[in-house]
Symmetry: C2
Subunit: 367 residues, 2 copies
């Protein structure tokens, strides 16, 4: 059938051109007589793809030479454990800002590792109880431990639709950010971060590959009493070929990044993502009696827009009719409910325009 408009929260929409390239060369990759899926990770045809994917990330995100880019497996949840395993040295404590389900779980994994390895993980502040994660903490709430091993934040909270609008100052303490759901959606000054990680399956590629961007001195000074497979140093020293990488996932990420760069890179993405979010929030705000956005305005995410309808029955009707109109993936996370439109890089302004037109029509009929 014709392509639907895909608002999935991740794995999510990918640029059609990236998929078409994958299809066209699936059996015979660049005239080698075999699929990329069958290529050795130690031979030139794959190595070229691997290096290009890393180079694209470096260029598009303006990653300075002080930082390495690593491609790993295991998703953000893997990093919830791997970050403390590398950076949380014995006798130290790490600071966690808990702004959602994933931040909470990141903290829990750090506590478990800390218990085993003679270290601690502290919650600086949690926005769960007062506002059910509907806001990002204010500056005043962020009383960081100046001797912390690092400060961990989640830059964008997929389930609750909140996002840090500016990043906290942590002084000499390295700032670590889970950017799974907003990497490459807006400009970031990578030099301000000790470490950034992201599962690729939202903005930059398919599931199965995890991007890590980390300061070289933090990688070099990482714990050496953990298994080698979990050391950032193993991946930095081997150009992320420490073991067999998820070759096809990296290849599809490469294709995706190529398309996004051709579309104008980070500048064009920033512009379009802002326009997409504005259009959607404006539509919601225009009818506060029908649509209701639970997130504080100052904390609104431009990636995951969540809203409610007057009743759960109407929400169900909305989701059903949207799906029938080829607008799919709009159901809120099973733990939260409501409606959520994930408008990552591969969702275009024209797609959001279709959604907004559908919303106006639905409101007219049911409002």
């Amino acid at each position: 059938m014709a392509r639907v408009v895909n608002f999935n929260a991740g794995p999510a929409a990918l640029p059609l051109a990236a998929l078409e390239q994958a299809r066209d060369e699936l059996i015979d990759f660049e005239g080698t007589g075999m699929s990329l899926l069958e290529h050795s990770h130690r031979e030139a045809p794959y190595e070229k793809v691997h290096r290009e994917a890393i180079a694209l990330l470096r260029r598009m995100l303006s990653v300075p030479e002080t930082h390495d880019i690593l491609l790993m497996q295991g998703g953000a949840r893997g990093q919830f454990a791997i970050v403390p395993m590398n950076l949380l040295h014995a006798g130290k404590s790490a600071d966690y800002v808990v702004t959602g389900t994933w931040a909470k779980q990141a903290h829990e994994e750090a506590v478990l590792f800390g218990n085993m390895a003679g270290a601690k993980a502290r919650v600086v502040v949690s926005t769960e109880k007062d506002k059910k994660f509907a806001r990002i903490p204010t500056k005043d709430e962020l009383a960081f431990d100046p001797s912390a091993a690092y400060v961990h934040i989640t830059s964008n909270n997929t389930l609750f639709g909140t996002q840090w609008q500016s990043y906290p100052e942590t002084g000499d303490v390295p700032l670590v950010a889970d950017m799974t759901s907003d990497l490459l959606s807006r400009p970031i000054d990578v030099s301000k971060f000790g470490l950034i990680y992201a599962g690729a399956q939202k903005n930059v590629g398919p599931s199965g590959v995890t991007v890590v961007i980390a300061r070289k001195d933090l990688i070099a000074g990482g714990r050496t009493d953990i298994p080698q497979i979990f050391r950032y140093k193993s991946f930095a020293d081997s150009e992320s070929l420490f073991n067999t990488p998820p070759t096809f996932a990296i290849y599809v990420m490469r294709n995706t990044l190529r398309v996004l760069e051709e579309q104008g890179g980070i500048e064009a993405l920033t512009r379009e993502n802002a326009a997409k979010a504005k259009l959607l929030y404006d539509t919601i705000d225009a009818s506060p009696d029908f649509w209701r956005a639970p997130v504080e305005k100052a904390s609104r995410s431009i990636m995951n827009v969540v809203w409610r309808l007057p009743t759960e029955e109407l929400e169900k009707k909305f989701l059903g009719e949207a799906k029938a109109a080829s607008l799919v993936g709009l159901k809120g996370h099973r733990s939260v409910g409501g409606v959520r439109a994930s408008i990552y890089n591969a969702v275009r302004l024209a797609d959001v325009e279709k959604l907004v037109a559908f919303m106006r029509e639905f409101e007219k009929k049911n409002g």
Copy 2:
């Protein structure tokens, strides 16, 4: 160009029909208007693929109900650490049989985890020094610790071309096997194993997904002081949907398993794999002055056949001319040299016949 004959050691050849299916539905998966790469792992279209992949493994390997099948990320190297993290309880010791590079590294990872977690990992025997890993230990050399947490073996050694012909008896001590390079190539009695793991990229699929088959009581009794993402229990309790899985890798594995089952399943694979190996070893043995197989006959692998030529110069010539004849991936591992033909499930008897014909011709000209 036309398909080459692919003797890669992994990632390796896949059945053409499995790739063609991936190509044909790459843009529009089963009429859903989106690629499988874009589907949520929490929706029916992907879940069906996921469950079918697990069901195919269970059926084809005759996995009893006492064992769970898990799909994880991180490859066999990930399991080198994750096995002890789950099964090596404080105060215990694990036994490792070191028959190659990967077995050695598995032991090293267990030592590192043990140091942190109050446990030990012991080498029962290593075949490195006497014979450079050219043989599997004899029964007499396997003096297991009857109180060990588990015994770890590597069923097939990709670099050195050796393979266990029968598995050791370990009594009440769980037997753990890295079967990355021979899973589903011959029948195994899964009930005799506490845990089996395998990176998929040799016999059952592409890189990026790791198969784990483990006894339910071992999963349930695993350490609870490690991060949740590394607990087998997290994956068993969630049908391997604890976090976002590597969806496309699992899908290609599903396609591959379907094709292998249609070809006759484990019985047909066993027959053909034996015939392939016999043809190749017979060809080598027929000219001991020209081809030289360094592995003891009783330890020969039916998956990775390694051999040498009279000189390194001739080896280079052989590899170059083979490649020109579309016989690719025959170079021995960079740490070993020589020639290696990896003849996994997707390499057919007709492919090995082509290689053997080429070898005979080459010998005639250069012998």
